[in-house]
Symmetry: D2
Subunit: 353 residues, 4 copies
């Protein structure tokens, strides 16, 4: 029996069945390539309805591309990009932001993946001297890589800071749907309405097959994104099949249904294991991720049946000896049975000690 | 009635039904992301069977990415890349090769998209002086952007030239299937066996939805391609759905069936219009493309019902006044009815004059 | 006896003695590094007096850097840069413009190094399609690489074209002094006054040791050049010694004196050899360069004593068999004796035939 | 009276008089440009004598260029470069290493500018996953940005670590002369002999006007550096004047004389102020830099007459309130009188309290 990946990552899941159906419906006749087709026009319009009339959405293939090309649209190579040192753009994109934009990332201390404005502010002194990259962009992740959600007042404070100091505000929204579901707000209320200039709006972690949207809200940005996208190898010829996914995703709030389902399963799992011995849930469980400190014996035992990510201790200062930090993620199609099976397996580990 | 795009481009077609079926079959359970799954392993193995044991294939998302990252794996920024001035990498990728590799492309005169070795050789004198990029790579397209196919002996002469002058040999095989079908040879016989070092092996122009393979044959190349791919935003999380397409593509020679069908329809169209007045077929019709010089009145009349590409006269020196060059492409799912309908429409244009 | 390099290149000459004296005068006390010193302030002011109050000059180390970073200040990587296919930026900078800006150069046919607006215009159709770099900049060389000088009305026509089509206008003025001397106009009259947006103003080919100025005239450009310069390795710590050179260069019109001297010697050489057999002067001798078609026997004979550049025949279509094109350049310190010695040597070659 | 810059930086000083004399001697006749002249050949040979027969030196214009292009010769864009977070390449080059190489810098904790191998080692786990840049190069600074000198056994331990883990070893030797003078060793003994693969050998901080050498020791590296240098705008036409400086610098050990003088003045200054109140010298004074914690009142008072750098408190954790860290640098031409004047001024500050 191969290892079960119920909680490894939300991109280990397959594709929502409605997406496959949408493919089939779109696969009719010849249409213009490279996004000059009606499917794309309709999907763009659907996104504009969701994000408001100022929104200008563009499709790319992957989340890393959405982040990097969104940043590229703002950054000159001598700029500095502020972000949490836990940010996907800093940790998990193989240096694509630096290689593609030429700019430097300034990693800031984080608190569950959230940045603090005093740390941002401290970097602004670098602006005085040409020997340093000029901080010009702040990138935040919603929900964060540690499963936390910026509240609206936090986002407004960040926006005000950016406006005051003339920083562009970028949001990595690979899991924006989960954040909106968690807050009970619309996608627009936590992006366009709180002053985000450029948004990566993800789908692949919430039931799509591939494809992300870069959404521009700032009037001055994105006008050359058609060229940026093509030059950076993100303009797919059969664009109708990206568009078809997003149309379906926004129809009858599939995005919300999926995100709620994933969030609910994370909460359920948290409830089931919270009081067990030899583990501690580290952050509030706000979306579809749990970060749990566990004794290594539990991890080893669980790993016999389940695959999930154990984080390097360097990412988790203050851990007791013989404990490690694990990440457990739920997905749109995680089932209650899977949660129960996994929670029972953890509970079963108590016997080890 | 919207315009018919039967002959606009082979990427205006949809996806072969077997590909959609393959998606559905692969959409079962959670699997590792980023290509560490069994689907990907199987698809890679299927490619190795096709291209031989030395082949090391990697999947990327798009044809431009396959070309550019294949070149990136070979090129340093001070290198020069020789190619036909009609090459897709020179004309149609928005400068991605230059922007991503930093290298310079040296456009060579072409003959139906084919380069000549004497032109390549003339550039080698640039090697003597550091004020010029150092020619290090030769890129050819099989079949060419003008629908011609390099014969095996031509490919061997190119290989020998490259070996003698220590040039890496890159092949843009966006339509390699059509070339193989045309020659009646295997994919391996016109790539691995004739000394190609790095191949872009395309699928999207022949019935796939997205996804291409970069195949390394040279022992020294490609060992860091995993990093290159990730950094350049081509590592999709749900890789199983690229793999599923390629597995299906190689099963029972779907690639060949599709390519033959497209080639056959191009030949049929050529046969039907060859003897008409006010037009001339420019190149031999070897794959799925016709290049036809037509009187502008015919083009205008046809454009009332059909969309296809008219090339800028700059690309077609020696055209009679009031004539233009048009490109007509067939696809895996072009039908005899469509060919007949279009040929009849052309014939009907004779009345104009 | 080693080979004499009287006419090899204007950068084979040494440094004007006044420049060395200026070094000594500046070498007093400790001053702020990186251009925050009074020498630099004074030299910048001297340049503003020459080029007018809108001019914003910055020093870099080399001519290639002046060109490339001037272009970098305007270009995004998806832009296209139009230039003569003889341009230094296209031929002689080892692909630095592409590698550093990411943009693509569009080489245009040239006539003695001059571009024609109809060729520029033809490229603008590329703007319609994201598969091509977007032409955004036109770069011209004054005087050209073939020793011709754009007249003021030619420059105005170019400016008007650029304004109409929203192209930035860059001027490679490595030999701007020679052009101004030739036209009997000020430096400002052939740069700021004719709508140049960004100028490379050279010195090293006219008696300086190193150092060039990038001068911005367009209000929107250059405001981040301090960072661009530093990031691209052109901010020298002991800037006072670049400044000292430029101050001296502009004092009592040293630049003009040097340029006139060089131009005069080229004219003298032309006069002396014009009527000889077995050679033809190709272009009008407007500055300090002669392009001469010669029989190869003459070249071989001369090369026994003199070093100069013979151009590849690829650069000189229409040459009679056994003839080649040579470039002869004079310098600020070329003497009449050297000209006479060389002319006599050529004349002496008539005996060969 | 303008502010005195005796201790601001070793690049605030002028040029050693012997360098100006060398210029004059080299300014004779026409010679080949771009380093194909005898001056350059002789200077390269002089460097080979100093650094040993395996050394392959190349001249560039600036220290930042020496570092960045040395790194470029080794790095692919998906590589990671390990360095102290105090390293010049990380802090003071406006992101040039990232922009020019595309690679990512991994800043390590430092101790007076020195890295620790356990921190290097911890980064090597990133090699396992393509989502991270692949650590491939370690860069150290000798002497460090905090004025410390790696001893030979420390260097050997670093080399052994690099060999074991297949890391290239880069040394920023902007102040290598000061380190050699401090250790009483030759330049070769602390570079070639301890396994440095690529060295930046500086001169401008020790009496030269401009120009640095990149010296390759690793057999596989640097063979394309001629092209890298040209493409990255560091190939000066009148190379003889860089060469002349280096020849003079190596003649009768001018480099050593200058470095010793600077080091001696730093030691003298340290001796004179060590026992004063309201300040603490932070690191051992091994070369020409003192890092001194001072009460802000002293700094303010001194700044009335003297300019020097006060470091941001962010760089100096653990400072008492109202104290700051200042950097005082001596130079080849710092005099005893200047040291005494400054020390007296500090002593005089005791009255404030």
């Amino acid at each position: 029996m191969s290892t079960l990946r119920y909680f490894a990552s939300d991109n280990n899941s397959g594709v929502h069945p409605r997406i496959l159906d949408a493919f089939a419906r779109s696969n009719v006749g010849g249409v213009a390539a490279y996004g000059s087709d009606q499917h794309t026009e309709q999907a763009v319009n659907a996104l504009k309805e969701v994000f408001g009339p100022k929104a200008r959405p563009w499709f790319v293939m992957l989340g890393t591309a959405a982040n990097v090309l969104g940043l590229k649209s703002m950054a000159r190579s001598h700029h500095g990009i502020l972000c949490a040192e836990s940010a996907h753009i800093y940790c998990d994109e193989c240096g694509a932001p630096e290689a593609i934009t030429g700019a430097k990332l300034f990693p800031l201390p984080h608190h569950g993946g959230k940045i603090r404005l005093e740390d941002c502010k401290a970097t602004l002194r670098l602006r005085e001297d040409v020997h340093h990259n000029y901080p010009a962009i702040l990138s935040i992740t919603q929900s964060t890589e540690y499963g936390l959600v910026y509240a609206v007042d936090e986002l407004i404070a960040i926006r005000d800071f950016c406006r005051e100091h003339r920083l562009f505000l970028h949001m990595d929204g690979a899991r924006l749907s989960n954040a909106a579901a968690s807050l009970g707000l619309s996608l627009k209320q936590i992006s366009a309405d709180v002053g985000v200039d450029v948004l990566s709006f993800g789908g692949a972690k919430n039931g799509l097959m591939f494809g992300e949207a870069v959404v521009f809200f700032h009037d001055d940005l994105g006008h050359d994104f058609g060229h940026i996208r093509k030059q950076h190898m993100q303009l797919v010829s059969k664009m109708r099949f990206v568009a078809a996914q997003f149309q379906e995703y926004l129809t009858n709030d599939l995005w919300l249904e999926n995100a709620r389902a994933a969030n609910r399963m994370a909460a359920l799992l948290a409830d089931k294991i919270r009081d067990l011995d030899h583990l501690t849930i580290v952050y509030p469980v706000e979306v579809n991720a749990l970060f749990v400190r566990m004794h290594k014996k539990i991890i080893a035992k669980l790993n016999e049946r389940f695959y999930f990510y154990t984080l390097d201790t360097a990412d988790a200062p203050g851990l007791p000896k013989d404990w490690q930090l694990v990440r457990l993620m739920t997905s749109f199609n995680t089932t209650e049975e899977q949660v129960c099976e996994f929670a029972a397996a953890i509970k079963d580990c108590e016997k080890i000690f």
